[in-house]
Symmetry: C2
Subunit: 166 residues, 2 copies
């Protein structure tokens, strides 16, 4: 019996595992703080998802409270940790292409003449440069380094493409 997590579920479990325990709200904030625009981390997605994970026995809820306000904290069960590791270390899924808004456009750039291609690439490059100077993930060294090296790899890709696309 295998428990297949969606990528959003996997990422949410990872955020909870990292903290030991967390509320749904903490998870929404973790997503909101990410520079990725792909998941909004909206309450409408996260709260029901956390409940589903608890119903599936991957999370254990416990009533914590600060002051008179009730809140539900969750921590991973053994089964939840096993599911998380299955998801996290899944090489086949990790080696997938995902969705890349730049790659999706690049393959169709032959629809426009060279000057417009050039202008587009420069626009993208300058936006990446702006990102690089922003200093994201000040609180988490691994995330910061993953992101920083990702940006470098992107720049490297664009440099390779420059010679290919004119």
């Amino acid at each position: 019996m295998s428990i297949r997590l969606t990528d959003l579920e996997g990422a949410a479990l990872a955020e909870i595992a990292k903290r030991g325990a967390a509320t749904s709200y903490v998870v929404t904030q973790a997503f909101a703080g990410s520079p990725s625009e792909f998941w909004s981390g909206s309450a409408g997605a996260v709260y029901p998802m956390i409940k589903r994970l608890a119903a599936r026995g991957l999370l254990q809820g416990e009533a914590g409270s600060t002051g008179r306000r009730a809140r539900q904290e969750y921590r991973l069960t053994d089964q939840g940790m096993a599911a998380l590791l299955d998801w996290l270390l899944d090489c086949d899924r990790a080696a997938g292409l995902g969705f890349d808004p730049l790659r999706t456009r690049l393959v169709h750039l032959d629809l426009v003449p060279a000057p417009q291609r050039q202008q587009f690439l420069e626009g993208v490059q300058s936006r990446f440069a702006a990102r690089a100077s922003h200093q994201a993930f000040a609180d988490h060294p691994l995330s910061r380094r993953v992101y920083a090296t990702w940006l470098k790899a992107r720049a490297h890709w664009l440099a390779m493409l420059d010679q290919v696309i004119d």
Copy 2:
């Protein structure tokens, strides 16, 4: 009045524009032939989408036929081409992070000990190597080069991370 296309719509319009005219089926095949697993190009997605684009005046339908079988061919209207170019050359969206199944996992690899991290990275690397030898997009030079350089950039990224993650 701006017409904002989803990425799937933009990619579909681009496939049609590239061919001059195309049926919905041709579009599904274009997606199915891509090495990306992100969009299945399922009929359930494509056929209704093409109809929506036609209803919005971005595509013009014309009844072609081979033998006695009726088929609907579509080509871009002027408005459709304008919408496509808006989407295609949108630097802000192109510079987004998209969804990256590897990046999503890498930032959480500190949940597992170094030997497992190493094993995971090797597994991913070998799958990329397998992709590289596969020769995708034999029919479209630009796509092939975009994909080939993307794979190189990924390898470059993993090489940078090797030193950082142990």
